[in-house]
Symmetry: D2
Subunit: 473 residues, 4 copies
Amino acid sequence: MFAEIKGLNEECGVFGVWGHPDAAQITYYGLHSLQHRGQEGTGIVVTDRENLSIHKGLGLVTEVFSKGEIETLHGNGAIGHVRYSTAGGGGLANTQPLLFNSQTGSLALAHNGNLVNAESLKLELESQGSIFQTTSDTEVLAHLIKRGSHELSLVERVKSALTQVKGAFAFMVMTENQLMVALDPNGLRPLSIGRLGDAYVIASETCAFDVIGATFEREVVPGELIIINDEGLRSERFSEPIHRSICSMEYIYFARPDSNVDEINVHTARKSLGKQLALEAPVEADVVTGVPDSSISAAIGYAEQSGIPYELGLIKNRYVGRTFIQPSQELREQGVKMKLSAVRGVVEGKRVVMIDDSIVRGTTSRRIVSLLREAGATEVHVRISAPPITSPCFYGIDTSSTSELIAASKNVEEIRQEIGADTLSFISVEGLLTGVGRNTDHENNGQCLACFTGKYPTKLYDLGTSEQKPVKC
Amino acid sequence: MFAEIKGLNEECGVFGVWGHPDAAQITYYGLHSLQHRGQEGTGIVVTDRENLSIHKGLGLVTEVFSKGEIETLHGNGAIGHVRYSTAGGGGLANTQPLLFNSQTGSLALAHNGNLVNAESLKLELESQGSIFQTTSDTEVLAHLIKRGSHELSLVERVKSALTQVKGAFAFMVMTENQLMVALDPNGLRPLSIGRLGDAYVIASETCAFDVIGATFEREVVPGELIIINDEGLRSERFSEPIHRSICSMEYIYFARPDSNVDEINVHTARKSLGKQLALEAPVEADVVTGVPDSSISAAIGYAEQSGIPYELGLIKNRYVGRTFIQPSQELREQGVKMKLSAVRGVVEGKRVVMIDDSIVRGTTSRRIVSLLREAGATEVHVRISAPPITSPCFYGIDTSSTSELIAASKNVEEIRQEIGADTLSFISVEGLLTGVGRNTDHENNGQCLACFTGKYPTKLYDLGTSEQKPVKC
Amino acid sequence: MFAEIKGLNEECGVFGVWGHPDAAQITYYGLHSLQHRGQEGTGIVVTDRENLSIHKGLGLVTEVFSKGEIETLHGNGAIGHVRYSTAGGGGLANTQPLLFNSQTGSLALAHNGNLVNAESLKLELESQGSIFQTTSDTEVLAHLIKRGSHELSLVERVKSALTQVKGAFAFMVMTENQLMVALDPNGLRPLSIGRLGDAYVIASETCAFDVIGATFEREVVPGELIIINDEGLRSERFSEPIHRSICSMEYIYFARPDSNVDEINVHTARKSLGKQLALEAPVEADVVTGVPDSSISAAIGYAEQSGIPYELGLIKNRYVGRTFIQPSQELREQGVKMKLSAVRGVVEGKRVVMIDDSIVRGTTSRRIVSLLREAGATEVHVRISAPPITSPCFYGIDTSSTSELIAASKNVEEIRQEIGADTLSFISVEGLLTGVGRNTDHENNGQCLACFTGKYPTKLYDLGTSEQKPVKC
Amino acid sequence: MFAEIKGLNEECGVFGVWGHPDAAQITYYGLHSLQHRGQEGTGIVVTDRENLSIHKGLGLVTEVFSKGEIETLHGNGAIGHVRYSTAGGGGLANTQPLLFNSQTGSLALAHNGNLVNAESLKLELESQGSIFQTTSDTEVLAHLIKRGSHELSLVERVKSALTQVKGAFAFMVMTENQLMVALDPNGLRPLSIGRLGDAYVIASETCAFDVIGATFEREVVPGELIIINDEGLRSERFSEPIHRSICSMEYIYFARPDSNVDEINVHTARKSLGKQLALEAPVEADVVTGVPDSSISAAIGYAEQSGIPYELGLIKNRYVGRTFIQPSQELREQGVKMKLSAVRGVVEGKRVVMIDDSIVRGTTSRRIVSLLREAGATEVHVRISAPPITSPCFYGIDTSSTSELIAASKNVEEIRQEIGADTLSFISVEGLLTGVGRNTDHENNGQCLACFTGKYPTKLYDLGTSEQKPVKC
């Protein structure tokens, strides 16, 4: 849904539980709360200590598990995954978790992120006779583990495999009798540990803990491999610690407002970004409105700081489904709208501050400005709670390629003209860091800022060698 | 969706268009914007001047018209309907519009409202040999029209039939070559006329006009019968004018915030109710939060008036679908939540003002108060932007029977204890009228207040004679 | 399936049971055995003595009752219906049984046949204000019953209604506490009574009795109204007896070979027709083959009488479903075939007698002759086990209109040329009667021969006044 | 369908085409004609010379390709597969063709048969780090090919892999620009080559050629590897020739009567078996009837040889679908039948010869004998057109294990008592060979007789080492 509006896609969510008699059901609720991170497909694998069982499919969690499948998944350990929506390259085969059965034991994997050396690893493995069933990065890790020396323990083989993959990853690997969880050395993706009675739970976002009644325990540390089994949880390291560089977009756009990312509440961070934006780019106006849903918090903050009333100037239709019939060009010209409406009763005759969280290609912003003007807004002042996105992401965010990023080739004034706003301002990189509550040291502030600055926290490996984008997650 | 949370159901929405080459498609978009008024079923009838064609089904507009059915509905006049979700008594047969074909011409009907003398009319018609196919009120009107004297014109027969039915109704009747639109003499339900180029459009709410690019023309007047055909629109009366008594719940709860009801913007009215509530029932607190989605506007108003910051303290999961698996009692006790989450990062350690739009049975309010406390709120002050609901509705709102209305048997303090709030206040009836922008003359203020005051604007006829509720709309 | 091949459609099947605790399930198996009589839709109504409950839908019996619906239909009386497949005019609304609930009691109806005065009755009823929900004949009877004088008992009103309808009908009418069964005065359609323990069962064909383990009791007599309730079965008459005129096509084409129609086994009758055909139209040949499935019995008879070996020269693909992709014209020309294949190994280099049961438009016969020749048959001799069809049916068989009946405008030699056969013969009308085992008195032989002779056993009433065919059954 | 009646399952069908612009569509019709060989799932892979595309799913060909999927499969080479229905161990993952994409080229495989050393090969491959995605034999071949030395050409690697697998196999392997076809050295499974204009077609049965208008060219030779590409067809050998041992059950039971297997027409062979049976086991009786569908040809032969009339004494309901509700034990005892009915009008008071093609567990035969007696047969003489099945099949036929084969533990008289027949005879092994038209040399007659004689044409390798049956095909 966001994807259509934004051209900016989240890259999946993972959830795991160990030691709970209703592991599959707990995972169902956990994934359901992470549904905003991916709507294309979902799956759950459980272990009953003798076998791993799986059910997965294309669609929402409530759709894929609509016919009693959950009841057939017995066991007290489980991992699950939600996958983001993509036009091509997806499909059932790439839906996760991946499950590999063999005579020497089974292996299930779920992954959020993107490996930057997946292609070269895959080429090497294929030249040795490995057969890949999916186009997903995740399978690379499985092959590396399976190819590991049989003299090593499974944990050692997993650690060895983790040192070979590079990029952004939050991995969960489950066998019949243990659950392993790993975060990349830069900590680019979010991953938290919680407790639910005696059980351990792992999730991409803490909102999943609230939904199932679990308590937050701690973040997974970059470079850490956590092993959970019936003897409890133990922590190992597969990499030296590096400064954490968690994705800034989690705060700006992706995560649910009720989640804490790296122990910072997302709604609160967004509201602060709105306040910061009001300080950096004030304007005289009558109403502040936010683009639903992700810019609401920033709009409230902007309104509170500026003293301009916050209003519902834009309404999103909640019932837009997969089979929605798009209006013909003709009807569109006659004024038939979809998804988003401007509220005439609120904006007519008013100077409007419209808060949005980012501009990718600029087409959506132009459309919303136009909606507001058609509904009678006399002025439209656009304020963006992210800095201009000038560089593509290689860590799991499906930003369009550089050529499609409007801020890669146009300056602010040119973008303003393009979207038809009266004024336009972006928050500064410093403002972003301040808003989230970080120090503003560009090198070591806890966040990845690569899409704004072009400074990537890791080496980029194969990127550029292949035009075909790998399937991320 | 509201139904599950509230126990308070809207009673359908209607949409019509005359004189547009894409009548069915326009109706599709119109109904889509009225989807919040009914999610059980939907249908569209079109006329190509020779025949009426229909497609209807159970489900959302996007589901029922997901396979190209719209393209098969040719014609430049159309009426459509969305029906609310009900546990029993519904089903495909009662989905509207109803279409009656006969050798003397076809008749399609769509209806929003509830007749208070439907049962006695039906009994009389059946004793004369009429056969009813549905349990819906709407069919009664069809029989009355068909039974009318054959010496009268169709318009005269429709007028005669309209004088026999009592209660709340916004009716649309379409034949091969005309569209008739009628509103009950008290104007209990909303119904507006708009223009789309040369075409006329009719809708339960004005948000439908915005979506299709139409402009608002005027409200349908209580007691008015509008006839639209190729010669244009003409207005007749089937009843003397009575003071308008539009349903107060449209402002408080049902209508979309971007609609104008009786020419008053709903978001603005709700925000005023919130301000009024802040004046009537102030409290010392740290944050104001609203129960999504319908109480957001009032919460913004309360915050603005009181100076307490407005925050997203409650989040609604957007992905709760029909097939959502309800957690077992055991999991629920362990803390598994659904649909609504409190945002710990926002409410922890705070004194919270929680704005809701109404209390029906009280169970939902209790649950939300409890969610907020579990998330760490130190105080929870509940403020309701409607007066206590003490009497059932007979005009199309599916309020529970008197025995289930908590405010019918308990006073405010007792309700406060029941829901576990620190303090509880309802807006006063005067405050409601003031907030919406009416005079406060109880007899003649433009709104139906029966559910708060027990004073019904019409005689009640058969009610009480039959235990079995008729199917409304 | 037959419909596509033949252009000759059966007109529905009915089944009823009274006094069995598993009435719905018994009806399910009964309808299942009558599925060949109609594949478009099906439904079952049960009575638990207080209410009538219904489930119906489009599709096969196994499809419509695939999700446990049978278990929800409680009661020990039931009626059911299977409806034939039709291009237009059908749909769910016309699926039977029809169920009419009213405050004075409920009424369910199921019907096999066609009324010849339905249009004029309907016009009269509509002019009195009746509203018809369907385009089916069946509803006419319901209105006539409901309009009957309220001083009469229901049985009297049913009898009165039955005297007003003309044509072919096998009706079942069920209320909360009785089941009424009627056959038209000419007995044009088959209808039998059986016993299942203490319960009574009624079915269009006796194969339904075998499937459920019931025993045949007797045929329903033309002009008889049977009333079954808890006091047992009683017989009344609504019409004087007339010579029975059961549809000849039941023997030739429609009924299942394991049914007895008017106490004559269908397979045996067909085999006799084949023998008779061999006597009337012998030919020198190497193999006899029948067009599956309906002509197999006649082919066996022809082979036995002629001494020419019977072989499987034509094979029907059992897996042709609704969604079968038709080959493009281009692929068809390249030889891609559907549904029916000639067996090269059997017919190559052989003189083939191809037995078919009827020729309607001739296109199917031409295609089959051509298939046989392509597979190497040196001669193809077509023998038809029905006389030429020269007149349309008004009693419930969907024969094409006169203009489409090839035998209405062409003689045997012209038809032979059209279908490309070496020789062609039809059985004679006398041969047909002899084969079935009747006397050959044209006026009083027990069968309707109208489609062969143009002599209709009833007056035809409205036919010819309306171009639009009513929906039969 | 057969599976439910017999407990004897066919093991899949394969189809391929090279050089036709409508390759996917041709494959659709080809697979459709092979549907009797497997109803669980199906799939098609096409090559457009740059990429391989796939669509597969669970269900019949018409169901899996019901929504325009065929149109999305562009290319002029294709392979397809139908998979048999199995209770467990199946599922979408095992549906074929299997498609493996890699940076060094893609590989699609389809397989009919069963490898007897699959388990040991798999164990060895897994210990080398290979990951298997399916439990199917087919994937083993893919890994062997991929693991082959990279200094060899693909054709050489395929040949090397084919020498490592043992058992029964008809393999098709397709890459972007060639189609390879191989038959096991014993030729246990049928596989034919045809021409369709300039295109080559390959199919498990020749009926597929008739349906698409292709002409039969020749059988694939045991041990042959055929390579088809744009330069034409060339034949190589991967194994020395061995006497052909084609599965006898293809003649007796599996293949369609219109197919030629090893150049012998199946209907003709079956009819000869019936004649042979009449010679070996004559009996005095009034009618001969066959169990539909597979025993009809043999029954015709028996009747022709014996002079006893052939009749339709048993009727199969064509509308038994997947969702058919099985009668409860109670209803079954009351006589509710399914699928198969005896025709009372044919068998009542008659001495019946019932021809069936095999007895596996004996339960089906007992039920049919009982059906005939209930319908009034005075004597039931069972004649089986196969010898007693005493040994399990390891080559792809899902015969029950030895313990379930009634003829493994009981003699003919004991079986007769078990099934309740008056007399029972099986055809002799010599009679079987004579009937099909072979010499009767037990060692070298062209057919595999292992299930009758226990003499397997190949070494059996891992069988017996593993209790868990591999997924065949």
